[in-house]
């Protein structure tokens, strides 16, 4: 094989979103396994997969009902970490995965787990896998039985990798499960939830401060809830801000069940887009945000890096806290070049791809998942890499992994990204 499959932005746009080449569609080929694809194949291996995400519910424990293989990477999260005493496993053997006989054991297992905890957990997150997806297990019914037996909430976490591209992928579903634990409570006008992430926004992200500045004094994030009681206070919110598309279904459910409406904001790296987004939010809730200081700081960071490195050429990956297509477009608009983009192309990507093709028609698009990436050894043109995958392919280029757990958002995200890039020089 000569080289990895890639296509220029111009070529891809000319083909159109209904004719994405099969080499860029993960359902059409084997998926290459390299450190660059770890986050795709097993989000929980590093970062948040279903298992760790489920435990975002304060004071909860998780019972994983699965063959041994499905719980294996949890030992990285378990024994030596703060989650050590929150993971439990009911192992399925060969007969279980064929007959489903394990289902009758789950209520007893939940009882034993609860009894073994020094402090009674707030809930048991019941994590099940592809096996039960194929067996057609009625997990809701199993959870109800277990809940009756143990006397506390038992909610399902569907780790169904088989449904990754389906209507309710695992990381969407787990968010719905988490917020399903919120119960109706009288609402407060000054309360708002930030939904989407399992780890907190970066400490100096301006969004909570902007909200507080207009009287929304109670700004809640799941990951900052100290205990289950504080988590329950999220049900008092006047509205939810959806910061990640994978929480839309949960937000819709909260709207339906608790009457909490939501407004969606997108993480973008274009200064003007961030400004427009805040202005639109302010209009929607009838306030005015004063964000000039944050805007200036972000703009200064971009300009400082541009002044220091005007000829920067980027390789941009998808294993980072950004949409690689949006980030690429933003970098191009700031006057930089992007030679290589490693991303999973979907019809939604074309919103950005069309503009990328206008500004930089020769930017090459690769799929991390393509088998041909086995022989890809980096970009000959890139001077910098952004993302863990881009750093993996381009080990000799200065790189910002941009995949830390504290979540960047808004002007602060732009400021931090460019300050991190500047620090590489």
């Amino acid at each position: 094989m000569a080289e990895a499959f890639s296509i220029t932005a111009a070529e891809l746009v000319s083909l159109g979103k209904n004719a994405i080449p099969p080499q860029l569609r993960s359902t059409e080929h084997l998926v290459y396994s390299s450190p660059a694809t770890l986050a795709f194949n097993s989000p929980g291996a590093q970062g948040f997969g279903v298992k760790r995400a489920g435990l975002a519910v304060p004071e909860s424990v998780m019972l994983l009902v699965a063959p041994a293989c499905c719980g294996r990477n949890t030992s990285a999260l378990g024994a030596e970490s703060s989650l050590a005493d929150r993971f439990f496993y009911l192992l399925q053997d060969e007969a279980d995965i064929v007959t489903g006989r394990h289902l009758t054991q789950i209520p007893q297992a939940v009882q034993e787990v609860v009894a073994s905890c020094q402090k009674r957990p707030s809930a048991v997150m019941l994590c099940i896998t592809c096996v039960d997806a194929l067996l057609g297990t009625d997990v809701e019914a199993v959870c109800r039985k277990a809940s009756e037996a143990a006397g506390l909430p038992v909610v399902p976490c569907y780790m169904y990798a088989l449904t990754r591209e389906g209507r309710l992928p695992p990381m969407v579903s787990v968010r719905k499960s988490i917020y399903s634990l919120l119960k109706p409570t009288p609402r407060r006008k000054d309360a708002v939830n930030l939904l989407g992430y399992f780890s907190p926004l970066q400490e100096d992200c301006e969004l909570p401060a902007l909200l507080r500045s207009v009287g929304l004094q109670t700004v809640k994030e799941l990951s900052r809830c100290a205990d289950f009681a504080e988590f329950q206070e999220m049900s008092r919110a006047n509205f939810n801000l959806v910061l990640h598309p994978e929480v839309r279904v949960a937000a819709d459910d909260l709207h339906q069940r608790l009457g909490i409406p939501s407004i969606e904001l997108t993480r973008v790296y274009d200064l003007e887009k961030v400004r427009h987004q805040y202005e639109a939010l302010a209009n929607a809730i009838g306030v005015t945000f004063k964000f000039a200081t944050y805007y200036s700081r972000a703009r200064d960071a971009v300009e400082a890096f541009h002044a220091a490195c005007p000829e920067a050429v980027f390789a941009v990956g998808e294993w980072c806290n950004a949409d690689p297509f949006e980030l690429t477009l933003s970098l191009l608009r700031y006057g930089f070049r992007v030679s290589d983009l490693y991303g999973t192309v979907s019809t939604a990507s074309f919103v950005y791809l069309r503009k990328i093709a206008e500004l930089s028609p020769n930017t090459r698009i690769f799929s991390n998942l393509s088998p041909t990436m086995l022989v890809y050894h980096g970009s000959p043109d890139a001077t910098h890499a952004i993302g863990n995958d881009a750093a993996f392919y381009n080990p000799n280029r200065p790189a910002v992994s941009w995949a830390d757990e504290p979540q960047p958002f808004g002007f602060a995200a732009i400021e931090h990204l460019f300050r991190n890039l500047l620090a590489l020089l």
Partner: protein
């Protein structure tokens, strides 16, 4: 409940053992899963994955592939990749998904071989067994397929069978090779770690097969039958502290490593050493009283009968009441921890 783990996390599964066995041999390794198993195998159970590239792929099965049993689609994906990559063989590794839908791996083998004109190794692991089972099947399939040529025996050469990072808790075989050289063999090959498919093909030239884990036993027997190559179990013993002569000691590891540690302690004068393992316990290698562990409760009961425990420290979580001395010997298949790392 026997199958409930309250203190430990699951050990390396059969599919990880299969991949570990084949990882360095240049084949197209296809894990028949939806993606998560591949992530676990590579991201957690295969330390070499971060150091060197290997053609490991997920079949990226989706619900309708499984429900409708789209074997032909899988074969097409494998053929496409095989045509793109110049790999000498294909290996199909099973996971719970094909186990539930009763995938016929032998049929897949025939279909893939017909289309690629290369050998295909069907490894029908299912994710419920431990790594040694998968490693054993993969090694047997590998040697059955490629160690076919009779060659003159070289008395200066020995081969190591059954070595993976999961067993020796190291990403490279240097220590193992050095110890084997010290046995008097100037030439030692270890196909599954630091070796190549060529080492498998020249298996007949080995004068002795050194079996370092139970996963290598079936293959050692195969090679004995096929070429008359003698074999024996062997494992280089890690450095251990002085242990009192009358102390009762329990060694927990894979059986061959644990046996080697026991023999070493006995040579140093310790009188009461028992062996337990969470993995295969071969009857002919076991002494009366050796135990195959199968639950946390059983382990907790057992541990409290001993003064000294020689085992991966990860296991200590399951025996909080143990008051004796714990000697930590990492076992990657248990803790995912390499020798010499914190």
């Amino acid at each position: 409940m026997k199958k409930l783990l309250k203190y430990l996390s699951p050990f390396a599964p059969d599919q990880s053992g299969a991949v570990a066995t084949l990882f360095e041999l240049g084949g197209l390794i296809v894990i028949c899963d939806a993606g998560g198993c591949t992530g676990n195998v590579c991201g957690f159970d295969e330390p070499r994955w971060f150091l060197k590239r290997s053609a490991v792929f997920s079949a990226a099965l989706r619900d309708m592939d499984a429900i409708l049993g789209r074997d032909q689609k899988l074969v097409e994906k494998v053929v496409d990749a095989a045509q793109s990559l110049d790999t000498p063989f294909t290996a199909l590794i099973g996971t719970p998904v094909p186990a539930v839908i009763a995938t016929d791996f032998r049929a897949l083998k025939r279909m893939v071989e017909k289309r690629t004109s290369r050998l295909c190794l069907p490894i029908s692991t299912n994710g419920t067994a431990y790594y040694d089972e998968g490693a054993s099947v993969a090694l047997s399939e590998l040697y059955s397929a490629f160690a076919t040529e009779s060659l003159p025996v070289d008395p200066t050469t020995a081969a190591i069978l059954g070595a993976t990072p999961l067993d020796i808790s190291a990403p490279s075989p240097e220590k193992l090779l050095n110890a084997a050289h010290a046995l008097g063999f100037p030439h030692v090959f270890c196909a599954t770690m630091g070796g190549s498919l060529e080492d498998v093909r020249r298996a007949a030239s080995s004068s002795l097969n050194l079996v370092v884990s139970p996963a290598g036993i079936a293959t050692a027997r195969l090679l004995q039958q096929r070429f008359g190559t003698p074999w024996r179990t062997w494992f280089p013993v890690p450095d251990l502290p002085e242990i009192a002569q009358h102390a009762s000691v329990l060694v927990i590891h894979q059986q061959i490593a644990a046996n080697a540690i026991r023999e070493s302690l006995e040579q140093r004068g310790t009188e009461h050493v028992s062996v337990a393992t969470w993995f295969r316990l071969e009857k002919e290698l076991a002494r009366p009283g050796d135990i195959r562990l199968s639950s946390e409760e059983q382990f907790a009961d057992l541990a409290n009968r001993f003064d000294v425990m020689i085992a991966d420290r990860h296991l200590r979580h399951a025996v909080p009441a143990f008051q004796g001395t714990w000697v930590d010997v990492p076992h990657f298949a248990i803790s995912g921890r390499l020798e010499g790392t914190p």
